[in-house]
């Protein structure tokens, strides 16, 4: 369940359009649960998007990125069949991974 990433990578002309959706609560640490106890901060701190094996985009995130984060980007040089993968690490050291091929 945790750590899943849904990626869509589509070739449009000579540009590859990537849309990634990540499964993560992105808790800010400011919220309280039903019993009034604070919910500890738990958010993705770092994310990378890789084409075959070169990093095309890297992100550092704070807790203000929305829950179940969405990331959209475009890069040159991709070809149908290439691999696009996304990986993240959160403030607890947990990781998430996803991989797909360009269509």
């Amino acid at each position: 369940m945790a750590g899943r990433i849904r990626i869509r990578a589509q070739q449009k002309g000579d540009v590859t359009e990537v849309k990634a959706l990540m499964r993560h609560p992105m808790e800010t640490g400011q919220r309280k649960d039903q019993a009034g106890e604070p919910i500890p901060a738990h958010f993705i701190e770092e994310v990378t998007v890789t084409h075959n094996d070169t990093v095309v985009m890297h992100g550092y995130w704070g807790a203000a990125v929305s829950a179940n984060p969405f990331l959209g980007l475009r890069f040159d040089g991709g070809v149908a069949g290439d691999t696009v993968s996304v990986a993240w690490i959160d403030n607890k050291g947990e990781t998430g991974n996803g991989k797909t091929t360009i269509r």
Binding site: L21, N68, F70
Partner: protein, 266 residues
């Protein structure tokens, strides 16, 4: 003696209608930018895994659970609910039926199931939410067709209608208070007129849905419970008669419209 409607109030009423007209679709731009990337897909996949996962003292999956189209048949089942089930001699919605299978097939207790069916703040999702949204998604694109041939099914519709107009609680609210008129809204929240086919279709076909405000998938059963909470009434029991009756009222009003699950809501 109706108080004298001063010219001013008449003028104010006129400005309101102009304002409302302009405000329609106030969130269209927001929705367009959201696109169709709906995080409900994760919960849907989790629902599929729960369906095939042995659970309860009997360590049995849901593959023998009959949702109305035969044991284990999921595709199109949600669109034909609520319906009468002879093995339980009751009209059931999906949540009531899943509880039935959890108890009868898996050997779980009602207390365990009803202890925490829906996510609380800080949760990422529950088994019930995942199962319901996966099953409902298997009816996406299918026309809503609740059963109305059994007398108990018809009785459930008429009870649902009476509940829809039942005013109670400190604020005298009924469902109709907010959902009984066309083109109305609470703050900026558009309100579907659920007593009409168009309004009921717009609402009924888009639940279960992912709610941006909570980051959670919510079911129609939860939606009923949370509406009653805001009516200042006690807590609705999942899959209870009132829940089933109101959903039958909505489903019959919405009949013919295609399910479009998962929805994306505030």
């Amino acid at each position: 003696m109706k108080p004298m409607m001063s010219g001013l109030t008449a003028m104010l009423a006129a400005t309101l209608t102009m304002v409302v007209g302009a405000e329609q679709g106030v969130f269209d731009e927001y929705r367009a930018m959201m696109g169709d990337d709906n995080p409900a897909i994760f919960v849907i996949d989790e629902g599929e895994e729960y369906w095939f996962e042995p659970a309860g003292p009997n360590q049995v999956t849901f593959e023998q659970c009959d949702l109305g189209l035969g044991a284990g048949v999921v595709e199109g089942a949600y669109a034909q609910l609520p319906r009468y089930f002879s093995d339980a001699d009751q009209v059931m919605d999906l949540e009531a039926r899943l509880v039935f299978c959890m108890v009868e097939l898996q050997g779980r207790t009602r207390e365990q199931i009803h202890a925490k069916p829906y996510s609380l703040r800080g949760d990422l999702g529950t088994e019930m939410e995942a199962l319901v949204v996966w099953i409902a998604e298997q009816s996406s694109g299918t026309a809503v067709a609740p059963a109305q041939d059994h007398p108990k099914e018809r009785a459930m519709y008429s009870l649902g209608e009476r509940l829809f107009y039942y005013r109670a609680g400190p604020h005298d609210f009924s469902c109709a208070t907010c959902h009984g008129q066309a083109d109305k809204r609470i703050r900026l929240q558009a309100l579907a007129n659920l007593s009409t086919h168009e309004g009921a279709a717009e609402a009924y076909t888009t639940w279960p849905a992912y709610r941006n405000s909570e980051g959670l998938v919510r079911t129609m059963g939860w939606r009923m419970r949370d509406c009653f909470r805001q009516q200042r009434l006690p807590e609705l029991i999942m899959g209870s008669e009132a829940s089933v009756a109101l959903q039958m009222f909505l489903a019959v009003n919405a009949a013919g419209a295609d399910m479009a699950v998962p929805g994306l809501k505030r």
